[in-house]
């Protein structure tokens, strides 16, 4: 009774800070602190670094006992600064999991799995949503010279129409390469010269050429984008990428933590890249390149299996195709961290069907903004489009300049009322993914007495999980512990056949491996098997 009371009290405490709108940095922190207060035995909250903007990057470790020795999943939000949903998904997952931690299924889960939740790895950038001037920002607070002219942050966006949001700017021009969308005049689309289409507008982001160098908004505030700063195919010198990989504190803090976390077998990050709706296909040519550019075949198979699980659990479809752009977390997780790596945006604007009652027709030109506006209208979402309005622009005197367009953030972040459902589905997925993790066990343990104190020990090592103990690629990795089989013989026990220590690169899903030893001596000895990504076991043998 008292337990139930306590549990409901905790639930009340947590629901007390239940958010109704995307959480700002301060709100994220109070939600995290509420969790660590409510479940102190299951949760450890720590800051892994402070950004140049003075914000902490938090890490929430969820698990029981020696969390560092249990197979673990890293869950990462804030991969991209405009993706507030990812922060909600990571944070909401932690909340849901802990709220359910009284149930047997979650208890069992947390007895064998650790979750490392990084709720927001781009806190400098996500805060722009809550700032006086709202715009989609990827970069952190590091001062940068995006246009490499020797000056830092000298030409950013400007709110010309004073609505507190940065939208678009169109300039009527015979050399413009944009035209109005044939089905929705509010939207501009690229004119295709090959089809004889003529452009009418130049399309730019809202702002002045503050430094008068002839380029608009080319070097604004912020910074380096986390999802461009990782080491795999880093686009060195590209704006927002950094002059060298892992140049940023956020990136390094995460890498330092994860490289020492030998128990992590999967990284699940939330961001624009998506290999969960559609898995990354095996490409034998790319998989053979010296600088590996494609998944190894067994690892592509696992991606396919996990993708199937994801689609089944979440029921999401029609995901836009994505292509990791280099320096990204998804690719790093596999190619450089050599763990299973997954990423999903969690939500995308559904394909809006033409409303025949309103005499709408299917779009003649596919365009995300046009699709969004149609969908938003059907959902009763209003006020997310700023009508084009003519302004006087000092950089374009005597030209017709209009400011307007779709609100920032709306294409990747759903209305907040949808967030709860999305979080729920992804919580289920993260729980089910842990159900697939490798689990080492020992079966068919047999001893045969061969006479004169000589005993033969035989056993089979098996993996009961749906995932291999290590991805195929991890067999080459420096930063994983191998699967170890160690015979702990005592002074009067001599190993006369077989190895005292055997290191295996991997044991695949449902795989097994037989061992045998010849031991001279008597009494008891133990054999330790396992590795941090698949758990450990000890068996006792009587000689």
């Amino acid at each position: 009774m008292r337990q139930i009371l306590l549990a409901s009290l905790l639930l009340w405490l947590v629901s007390g800070v239940q958010a109704q709108e995307y959480s700002s940095y301060a709100d994220q922190l109070s939600r995290l602190q509420a969790l660590s207060k409510a479940w102190p035995s299951l949760v450890k909250l720590q800051s892994i670094t402070k950004t140049n903007g003075g914000k902490d990057c938090w890490l929430l470790t969820i698990g029981t006992g020696k969390t560092e020795s249990k197979p673990a999943i890293a869950v990462i939000g804030g991969t991209e600064g405009n993706h507030l949903l990812g922060v909600e998904m990571a944070l909401g997952f932690a909340e849901n999991l802990l709220k359910g931690s009284g149930t047997d299924s979650i208890k069992n889960l947390l007895a064998r799995t650790t979750y490392y939740v990084f709720p927001n790895m781009s806190p400098d950038a996500t805060e722009q949503y809550f700032a006086k001037l709202r715009y989609e920002r990827y970069g952190n607070a590091t001062d940068t010279d995006d246009d490499r002219d020797g000056k830092l942050n000298e030409d950013g966006v400007d709110d010309l129409d004073g609505n507190g949001k940065i939208t678009l700017m169109r300039i009527a021009s015979p050399i413009g390469d944009y035209r109005t969308h044939p089905d929705d005049a509010r939207i501009l689309v690229k004119a295709d010269a090959a089809k004889g289409e003529k452009g009418k507008y130049r399309l730019l982001t809202e702002g002045f050429d503050n430094d008068k160098d002839g380029y608009l908004n080319e070097d604004g505030e912020g910074g380096i984008a986390l999802n461009k700063n990782f080491t795999y195919k880093h686009n060195t010198f590209a704006a927002g990428s950094g002059d060298y990989p892992a140049s940023e504190k956020e990136t390094r803090a995460m890498l330092d933590f994860l490289f020492d976390a030998f128990n992590v077998y999967a990284v699940v990050s939330f961001g624009s890249n998506n290999n969960l709706s559609t898995p990354i296909a095996y490409n034998p040519l790319l998989a053979r390149e010296r600088i590996l550019a494609g998944y190894l075949e067994p690892d592509a198979r696992v991606n396919g299996m996990v993708s199937e699980l994801y689609n089944k659990v979440t029921g999401l479809k029609d995901a836009p195709r994505t292509n990791p752009g280099g320096g990204d977390l998804l690719s790093w997780g596999y190619f450089h961290y050599t763990r299973y790596s997954f990423s999903t945006p969690g939500w995308w604007v559904p394909k809006a069907k033409a409303d025949t009652a309103k005499k709408e027709k299917p779009f003649t030109v596919e365009d995300p903004a046009a699709n969004y506006l149609r969908w938003a209208q059907q959902q009763g979402i209003t006020n997310t489009f700023t009508e084009w309005k003519t302004i006087q622009h000092p950089d374009y005197p005597d030209q017709q300049v209009e400011v307007g367009g779709l609100d920032p953030f709306v294409l990747v972040n759903p209305p907040y009322k949808l967030v709860g459902g999305i979080v729920k589905k992804h919580t289920d997925f993260l729980v089910k993914l842990a159900g697939q993790q490798a689990e080492i066990d020992v079966v068919n343990l047999k001893t045969e007495k061969l006479g004169n104190g000589l005993t033969r020990i035989r056993l089979d090592l098996i993996n009961r999980g749906g995932l291999a103990t290590h991805p195929k690629l991890a067999e080459r990795s420096y930063f994983l512990k191998k699967l170890k089989v160690a015979v702990n013989n005592t002074g009067n026990q001599q190993i006369v056949g077989g190895k005292k220590i055997t290191l295996l690169n991997s044991l695949e899903a449902a795989g097994s491996q037989s061992f045998s030893w010849l031991i001279k001596g008597n009494g008891k000895l133990t054999i330790d098997v396992g590795c941090p990504t698949a758990g450990t076991k000890q068996v006792e043998v009587t000689l």
């Binding site: 020797g150 060195t236 010198f237 060298y244 600088i291 690629l473 420096y478 005292k500």
Partner: protein, 579 residues
């Protein structure tokens, strides 16, 4: 009492006399060497990290106007990374002079790089007084000299039992065999002589036999003859009982020269890579120092061994990074190096050596646009001034040790009772031979390598405002044309730099009492081909000032009269001219 006083007085004079070995009048200058240096250094031995630091401090104390001493950061174990800045501090702003960066010892066992780098600092300061060339050089240029960028490894090599190749890495611990235990099975100095040598065992089934030319050596038995020795590898035992000897020691944790931020690849592609670029504190400190000194235009790192002057790229993927214009500069300096350094060959890492990703020289060039060489110091050529092989068991190595080093470099074979191998013999070359220079050859090769660095540094840009001319256009308009020339072979921006805009453009500014109406770069003065810079015309931005070439800029000025033109280049310095 008087006697005691006298004795202590004579002791005092004696000790003073020891400080200054010889009276100046007793010495006669050998050409090209400081005859009576303020800082006495013996260049036929090696110094540990503290010893290197002490020499640095002495140089800075003796020549306050030529040398500044600082620590640019700390190693993993907390040792300082000491840096000497060498320039004529009385002339010009040192941060605006074209800079030459020199380091050594990135690999722990490759120690002589520190002495070679330090020799450069010592020579420049001690020769400044009576060498006009050095005076001019230090007026124009600045040297940043970090003798060892791996002091933990250096001290470990010197003070702990090792062989000539160990340790290669710094001392941040790594679980090399991924068994969950760190450094549990390292080399073992079984005979306690401070060297890690070799183990051999008499065996009728061995495939080696005693070398008739030198009984310390073993050579392969012929296919049709029986051998007498089994080679058991490097001194050690299987401490953790995993069936492997010395597989997880501190001697090879990682390779600090695979940790740099260009073309970096993870360990499974590039053996030795650590977690991410600059994940090692020593390299991070160097990187931050270089980022803070955009005036560095040239760089040199010292390794051993093999007698090579190496340039990038380290990976074949980067072949196109080096364009023809940069290769001309690289080749000119590299070929000069072959002349200055007998026995050394100018080579390209990826094609003449092996592919290596994430190397220091690749980051310096491709990541920062700095012309960089890595010299592999010491070559067997220097033993008998003729080509010799690098093979440890090659007989010239033995004969050199016998006749020139009097067997000082060899630990004689001696029996040892090994817990796993039984009766073995332990012996072989000491750690200070085969890769490190023998004492008597150290100073001369240090001098030659320094000469190469000086030539390299001399080749960095030297800008001048060659001419300012005024032409009357009528109606009160004047056309002012300035020619800015670069007197040396290196451009202000390497092609990699221009391509990626690593450093900002060079700025050519006009200051005049008149009103500047327009400014432009002149592509062809004779045919009047120009490109106007519409914004901010008083400061013309040019992407590059080519080596031994010039750029021309032009302004249209209303009024005017006196003109002052200033060139501000990150790697070319600041110069002005007036008319």
């Amino acid at each position: 009492m008087k006697r005691i006083l006298l004795v202590s007085l004579s002791l005092l004079t004696l000790s003073m006399g020891q400080l200054r070995a010889q009276a100046p009048e007793q010495m006669f200058k050998a050409a090209g060497s400081p005859v009576n240096p303020k800082v006495t250094v013996t260049w036929n031995k090696y110094y540990d990290h503290a010893g290197i630091g002490e020499i640095c401090k002495k140089i800075a104390a003796a020549y306050p106007n030529l040398a500044k001493f600082e620590s640019i950061g700390k190693s993993y174990q907390g040792r300082d990374l000491w840096c000497l800045t060498i320039t004529d501090f009385k002339k010009g702003d040192p941060t605006r002079k074209p800079g030459m960066y020199i380091d050594g010892n990135i690999h722990s066992n490759e120690i002589q790089g520190a002495e070679f780098a330090l020799y450069t600092a010592w020579y420049l300061t001690e020769s400044f007084g009576d060498t006009r060339f050095i005076q001019e050089l230090l007026e124009d240029k600045v040297f940043y000299i970090i003798p060892t960028i791996n002091p933990d490894g250096r001290d470990s090599y010197i003070h702990k039992p090792n062989n000539a190749s160990s340790p290669r890495s710094g001392l941040l611990p790594v679980d090399n065999d991924a068994d969950g235990l760190i450094d549990e099975d390292s080399y073992e100095d079984l005979n306690g002589d401070g060297n890690i040598t070799l183990m051999r065992r008499k065996s009728p089934n061995g495939r080696f036999k005693t070398d008739p030319r030198d009984p310390r050596n073993m050579i392969q038995a012929g296919v049709d003859e029986r051998g007498e020795w089994e080679l058991l590898g490097i001194e050690g035992i299987d401490k953790d009982g995993d069936g492997r000897v010395s597989e997880d020691g501190y001697t090879f944790q990682y390779d600090p020269n695979r940790d740099w931020g260009w073309g970096w690849q993870p360990n499974y592609i590039q053996n030795g890579a650590y977690k991410y670029p600059f994940s090692l504190p020593e390299n991070r400190a160097v990187m931050e120092f270089v980022m803070k000194h955009p005036n560095i235009a040239a760089a040199q790192s010292f390794h051993n061994a093999g007698g090579m002057i190496l340039r990038g790229p380290g990976g074949q993927e980067d072949v196109n990074t080096y364009n023809a214009q940069d290769l001309q500069v690289y080749d000119a300096i590299g070929k000069k190096g072959e002349e200055l350094l007998p026995g050394y060959k100018y080579l390209v890492v990826y094609k003449d050596l092996y592919s290596a990703y994430g190397g220091e020289l690749d980051w310096f060039y491709a990541g920062r646009g700095i012309y960089t060489y890595s010299n592999e110091l010491w070559t067997p050529y220097l033993m008998y001034m003729k080509e010799g092989s690098r093979d440890l068991f090659d007989n010239p190595t033995y004969s050199f040790d016998r006749y020139l080093l009097f067997q000082d470099a060899f630990v004689p074979w001696k029996e040892y009772d090994h817990p796993q191998y039984g009766k073995v013999e332990i012996g072989g070359f000491k750690k200070n031979f085969t890769r490190a220079h023998p004492g008597f050859l150290l100073e001369s090769d240090a001098h030659r390598n320094m000469a190469f660095s000086i030539y390299h540094c001399y080749s960095t840009p030297k800008l001048e405002v060659q001419s300012i001319t005024e032409k009357d256009l009528g109606d009160g308009l004047k056309e002012v044309t300035a020619v800015v020339a670069n007197q040396r072979m290196m451009p202000t921006h390497s092609s990699q730099d221009t391509k990626n805009k690593i450093e900002r453009p060079d700025l050519i500014s006009l200051s005049t009492s008149g009103k500047i109406l327009a400014g432009m770069t002149v592509e062809n003065k004779d045919l009047n081909l120009t490109t106007e810079q519409k914004n901010n015309p008083q400061t013309i931005e040019v992407p590059n000032i080519p080596g031994l070439g010039a750029v021309t800029v032009k302004w249209i000025v209303q009024g005017g009269g006196k003109y002052s033109v200033t060139v501000d280049s990150r790697k070319g310095g600041i110069v002005s001219g007036t008319k």
